[in-house]
């Protein structure tokens, strides 16, 4: 931001020139201006693309292999929208035995059945006096292909830090006290 003093100092004194000409406060780029500037509005957002209802969508993680034939693996992230009414064939998060569980909802006539996508597991058929509570409808899942790319899990052991000239031996090696402090792999390496 220009301060008043900067502007004043940039005006030539009247004695040198009959008409004071203010200098440009910004450098002017020579060359063709970037046409793209008018078009660039930020990269597209994965969030916006996969989440229809941000207010009612929650991200949860999966523990277990009972849905692997539906392409949902242990450790995957699930996008769960609570605003959607569950329909026959939806993958849903349901409340079973006071726990959140992921299953496919299949209607047998008028009876809803929770069907795991793995033959090793049995269907869950609620008894007539039992209410089936559907917590939300799964709209998609995210599966990490390269485990080492995954953030917030096991990180490689941080490098030890050398402080030059810290000791008479010409540089002591000090292991960081809190490994977490280096978990992002150093300043400016990846995320901004």
């Amino acid at each position: 931001m220009a301060r008043l003093s900067d502007v004043i100092s940039s005006i030539h004194p009247a004695s040198e020139s009959p008409v004071p000409v203010p200098q440009a406060l910004e450098a002017v780029h020579a060359g063709f201006p970037s046409v793209a500037q008018d078009y660039f509005d930020g990269d597209f957002s994965l969030d916006e693309h996969i989440i229809m209802h941000p207010d009612t969508t929650f991200i949860v993680t999966v523990a277990g292999d009972s849905m692997q034939n539906a392409g949902i693996w242990d450790g995957d992230l699930l996008v769960v929208d609570r605003a959607l009414d569950p329909q026959d064939g939806d993958v849903v998060v349901a409340v079973l035995d006071d726990e959140l569980t992921v299953k496919r909802l299949v209607m047998h006539g008028h009876t809803p059945v929770l069907h795991p996508e793995n033959p090793a597991y049995p269907d869950f058929i609620p008894s007539p006096d039992q209410d089936l509570l559907i917590w939300g409808v799964v709209t998609g899942n995210y599966h990490w292909q390269r485990k080492t790319a995954q953030r917030h899990v096991e990180q490689p052991v941080p490098p030890s830090v050398t402080y030059p000239g810290a000791k008479s031996s010409g540089g002591a090696t000090v292991a960081p006290k809190h490994p977490g402090a280096y978990r992002h792999g150093g300043w400016g390496s990846r995320h901004v």
Binding site: D55, T56, V60, A63, G64, S66, H184
Partner: protein, 438 residues
């Protein structure tokens, strides 16, 4: 008949309800949520209310009995409550115009429709919040805000209302006299404890009696606010929207005060805490674009302590120039306590108060005596916090950073105690809820 009713939506047992959203195992069980530092009960599930646990009860006084009754206790999970509150408010804002978010769990709205249509919309809205975020809300529909508060309260306590009550439902036969006669003066919106005491001295005990007072007379004796409350009880809307509550809020003082997990002995610990809270307060100061001229710090021992007598000290520094610079403000906060601390007292609370606030944009003084504004340090702090999480960088020494989940946020041995914290399901990647596939 009033054609543009006011709608008040208020969550039922909000904190306790939030705890059950990702944890079906606590639904339908007695559950209490405790205040800062696991001090007092601040929210109760219906089952906990049925056991007779009162709001504000110090947890340590009922702990054993509660364990016997299998009461589940949780520390306040502000991250989760804030996230669910924002979602709930956002959903509701899509149904009716003029939303005024009044607190974390309640909002007023203005319906352009008649009562019956408003009721139908409110029913759909209520269902959308319950399904979408799992929080039950109660809705009061009335010609004025004060009556909307009363109808909302009624809807909460009477399951037959199915969560929605209109003033017309309650006042059909007698202009609401029966209902207002059942409401103690303290429970009327806007009547504080002290005012209630004075009113009771005049023989005004229930809302109905207050309604029947002469408003002009009461304005003379008390205040224009009380006159407005009387008119509102009669169904004449006169409490304007508090825009402060929604957006352009500007506090005229900023207070940041906490209880400690463990008492602090000695000046250095207190100065660390004062410095940290000064930085919190400073963030709020900058958010409302103000500068402050005075920094006050107080600290106090526990009023319940068996070890020592209650004692509190307070110090205050007048800044040379108004400022929003965290360096200047935290330095002043450290300085304010200097020499005032009794070394043997176990202090459990420190607060930092910023007063003499002026608007940063319109503040204007002699050229050489300009305001000392933040040079960009806060922006850097924000960026660091966004990337590495809170409590990674700050001004001055603030104790040893803890490793635990609970004090990782605040940083020091004296940090807030949150021993029974549930997972912060929507704001922390590492505390994401797990669904079972086995």
């Amino acid at each position: 008949m009033q054609e543009h009713p006011i709608v008040l939506a208020d969550a039922n047992n909000f904190y306790a309800s939030c705890e059950a959203v990702f944890h079906p195992e606590v639904a339908g069980k007695p559950l209490v949520v405790l205040s800062n530092n696991d001090g007092c009960v601040v929210s109760r599930s219906y089952e906990a209310k049925a056991l007779g646990i009162a709001n504000g009860t110090p947890w340590f006084t009922i702990r054993q009995e509660a364990a016997y009754d299998q009461v589940i206790a949780r520390s306040s999970n502000y991250e989760l409550y804030g996230s669910l509150s924002r979602r709930m408010m956002s959903i509701m804002s899509g149904f009716l115009p003029g939303q005024e978010v009044y607190s974390i769990d309640e909002c007023f709205m203005h319906s352009p429709w008649d009562i019956e249509r408003t009721r139908r919309i409110a029913a759909v809205m209520r269902r959308a919040v319950l399904q979408g975020v799992g929080i039950p809300v109660s809705i009061g529909i009335a010609p004025t805000k004060t009556l909307a508060k009363i109808t909302n309260h009624w809807a909460k306590r009477h399951p037959s209302s199915r969560g929605i009550t209109t003033w017309g439902d309650l006042s059909r036969d007698d202009q609401g006299t029966a209902v207002l006669s059942s409401i103690e003066i303290d429970d009327v919106w806007g009547i504080g404890r002290r005012l209630a005491k004075r009113l009771r001295g005049l023989g005004i005990r229930q809302a109905a009696q207050l309604r029947d007072q002469d408003p002009v007379n009461m304005r003379r004796r008390f205040s224009v606010q009380l006159e407005r409350t009387i008119l509102e009880l009669r169904g004449i809307p006169c409490i304007a929207d508090d825009n402060d509550a929604t957006g352009g809020k500007r506090d005229c003082q900023i207070l940041c005060s906490r209880m400690f997990g463990t008492p602090i002995l000695g000046e250095e610990g207190l100065r660390q805490a004062a410095s940290v809270y000064a930085q919190y307060a400073c963030r709020r100061l900058q958010r409302q674009h103000s500068l402050c001229t005075r920094v006050s710090v107080f600290c106090a021992s526990s009023p319940f302590s068996k070890h020592d007598q209650y004692s509190s000290v307070c110090g205050s520094i007048l800044l040379q120039d108004p400022s929003d610079d965290p360096v200047i403000i935290s330095a002043a906060a450290r300085q304010a306590l200097h020499g005032r601390i009794t070394p043997s007292v176990r202090y459990v609370r420190v607060g930092v108060m910023l007063t003499g606030l002026v608007d940063a944009a319109s503040y204007d003084t002699l050229p050489a005596l300009g305001a000392r504004t933040d040079s960009g340090l806060s922006e850097v702090f924000e960026q660091v916090a966004r990337r590495f999480g809170p409590a990674h960088v700050g001004i001055g020494f603030a104790g040893i950073r803890g490793d635990g989940r609970n004090n990782g946020d605040t940083g020091a041995a004296w940090a807030m105690r949150r021993e029974m914290l549930s997972s912060r399901c929507t704001t922390r990647w590492d505390e994401m809820p797990v669904v079972r596939a086995d």
